[in-house]
């Protein structure tokens, strides 16, 4: 009779690698604020992973208890010393401790098994669902793909937010910044974008990666809960570092997320990565740099803070067909102070990205949510990726809103205005109302097209502004129920054919005739 446990141990003993290799070591000279100075390690490389040996003089029992090794990352090579940031609890360290070279640059284990999991920047599961079995690892730091490896952005990534998909379209492989003050709905836009991907066909659905940098753990837990509830964790990975984590881990989190995204991109898939947020990332890097005694520059940020973000965001790409045609779309988030977009980090990231989505506190407080300032929000490459159907309906809305913004200042003199101006203001207010969306209720693009088509073609004429959202909802239900072929046609062909155009026009007139109570203004 054989005991499986004994059998297992016997096999392990038989297969144990007993070959001996001399390890290159150094000893900890000092530790403080997450930075360790090591004497020795003469051949250590930049960004190399170092393992601290906690088992010296420890009994076998204590050694076996230490299951999670303590890692460090080489960031400064000096004449007699190596400076290392500790990727874990520095309380576990002591003077004279042995630090061992691993010979590996910092990398993260990746694989399909990571989908649906919450991990830390080292790829270790932190969701209590057990270890993640992966077969590959990707370097956390690497040079982005070159010009010849890329192709033009040509496929849209739908956020499910009408204002964005219509006027600030984002393409797969693009970098679009979400910027605004605190509590203006930046994270909500990012999460809605993830939620909206469930409407995409499974074959083309992007793998979403949400990177929480220095966020409150309660916020990350809430987001994971919301994603799980909506079934979005089936295609999402969360890389989480909390405000309580060492600055080194916060610094690594976006790069770890990018490495995971690149894994899927290289497999020919599309990936979407959200960096929430790069302001906190810059602060973590500043802290780390000052502790490493690197010279401070403007606002005490180190001189390479621009390079830090540019090399990170440059990893977003649309690969050419030869390389599989995958893509990595980046939505970095920046938090501004009092709407100051001319501060150091916001201007840096604005200049790196391919467009910005500006969110404003005033709009948010007025109840315009998403609080998007469409006047100064832009997308530099996304329009070439917009679907034909959306392009057809989005042109007019942009013009209407631009005119509305010009006339907005005169709204308080409404009684003195001529009829034409009044009409334009009314129309602008209706469009503004139409673009409002509740959080976590993204709309699939074909519904957006129908909704905007309706607004452009008289659906809202004669209706009160307060009724706009109600009319929109009822009209979409009406089309889905009574004109069942319209939505599948737009969804599948991504165009607005003449036939569908006619059907929509007749749907609008039929709806208006069927629901006269909405048109009493």
């Amino acid at each position: 009779m054989s005991n499986p446990i004994i059998e297992r141990i016997r096999k392990e003993i038989e297969s144990l690698d007993t070959s001996l290799h001399a390890e290159e070591i150094g000893r900890v000279v000092s530790v403080g604020d997450g930075v360790a100075e090591i004497e020795g390690l003469a051949k250590a490389q930049m960004s190399e992973m170092i393992v601290f040996d906690e088992t010296e003089n420890a009994s076998l029992e204590d050694t076996m208890k230490k299951t999670a090794p303590l890692f460090g990352l080489v960031l400064n090579l000096e004449e007699n010393l190596v400076k290392i940031v500790v990727l874990g609890d520095t309380n576990r360290m002591r003077e004279g401790m042995v630090a061992r070279r691993t010979g590996k640059l910092l990398n993260i284990p990746v694989g399909d098994a990571i989908i649906g999991r919450v991990v830390n920047p080292l790829g270790e599961a932190i969701d209590g669902k057990g270890a993640i079995k992966t077969d590959r690892s990707m370097p956390i730091e690497r040079i982005a793909y070159g010009v010849m490896d890329r192709s033009a952005v040509n496929t849209p990534i739908h956020t499910g937010i009408k204002a964005i998909d219509a006027m600030i379209p984002i393409g797969r492989g693009q970098r679009e910044l979400i910027i605004g003050d605190r509590a203006t709905g930046k994270t909500t836009i990012a999460i809605d974008t993830i939620l909206n991907q469930r409407f995409e066909p499974e074959a083309t659905r992007p793998i979403c990666i949400y990177v929480a940098v220095g966020q409150k753990e309660s916020k990350t837990a809430r987001i994971v809960g919301e994603l799980e509830e909506a079934g979005a964790m089936a295609y999402t990975i969360v890389v989480s570092t909390s405000a309580a984590d060492p600055s080194a881990l916060q610094f690594l989190a976006p790069f770890a997320g990018a490495a995971i995204g690149e894994y899927f991109m290289e497999k020919g898939k599309d990936a979407l990565i959200i960096y929430d947020d790069l302001s906190k990332h810059a602060v973590a890097y500043r802290q780390m740099s000052l502790l490493l005694r690197r010279p401070p520059g403007r606002e005490a940020y180190p001189g390479d803070i621009f390079y830090l973000h540019s090399r990170l965001l440059e990893r977003a790409a649309k690969l050419n067909e030869k390389l599989g045609g995958g893509s990595l779309t980046a939505l970095p988030i920046i938090e501004t102070q009092e709407g100051d977009v001319s501060a150091y980090i916001p201007t840096n990231v604005i200049s790196i990205t391919d467009g910005q989505i500006f969110l404003e506190t005033d709009l948010f407080n007025k109840g315009i949510r998403p609080a998007l300032n469409v006047g100064i929000s832009v997308s530099r490459v996304g329009s070439s990726a917009q679907t034909k159907a959306m392009k057809k309906v989005a042109g007019k809305i942009r013009l209407e809103l631009a005119q509305f913004r010009e006339l907005e200042a005169f709204m308080q003199f409404a009684s003195d205005l001529d009829d034409n101006t009044k009409k334009q203001i009314e129309s602008g207010r209706k469009y503004t109302e139409l673009l409002k969306q509740k959080q976590h209720q993204p709309m699939p693009f074909y519904k957006q097209v129908i909704s905007l088509y309706g607004a452009n073609n008289g659906l809202l004429d004669g209706a009160k502004v307060e009724e706009v959202k109600k009319i929109e909802g009822e009209f979409l239900d009406f089309v889905e129920r009574d004109r069942a072929q319209i939505m599948p046609s737009i969804r599948d062909t991504r165009t607005l054919s003449d036939e569908v155009d006619e059907m929509l026009k007749s749907a609008i007139s039929d709806f208006k005739a069927a629901r006269p109570e909405f048109y009493t203004a």
């Binding site: 141990i9 144990l16 390890e23 290159e24």
Partner: protein, 128 residues
């Protein structure tokens, strides 16, 4: 800071072949010239520490679980010493090793202890 600078300078001169008595008399003269005579003791201590560190670099520390094991592994110790051009040998008893040995210089370590093997087996068995 000044002490370390003087220490490094004298250390450099000696390791470059200058006779020790000459280097020390020159140091005294220089310290007097710049009004730093009071630092002489500190500079000499710094110098001593540097030579001690050099000595450490040439020493292989053999850690075994019991004293008599050091002789058992004489061949392995000799190979390690030759490979890294070490001269001295210091034996330390570390009962936590259970068996086997660890050879250690300031920059290299060869761990052939039973503790390491047993911990590896334990981790392999429990990780899957």
């Amino acid at each position: 800071m000044t002490t370390k600078v003087y220490g490094e300078a004298v250390y450099g001169a000696i390791t470059n072949g200058m006779a020790v008595p000459n280097a020390l008399s020159n140091l005294t003269a220089i310290l007097e010239k710049y009004g730093h005579s009071s630092l002489r003791g500190q500079v000499l201590r710094d110098l001593l520490a540097r030579f001690e560190k050099d000595e450490e670099k040439l020493t292989v520390t053999v850690r075994v679980s019991q004293t008599q094991d050091a002789e058992k592994f004489a061949k392995e110790i000799a190979m390690f010493t030759d490979k890294y051009h070490l001269r001295e040998t210091a034996v330390k008893v570390d009962e936590t090793l259970i068996g086997g040995y660890i050879l250690e210089s300031t920059e290299h370590r060869l761990d052939a202890s039973h503790k390491k093997s047993l911990a590896t087996i334990y981790q392999n068995v429990t990780n899957d």
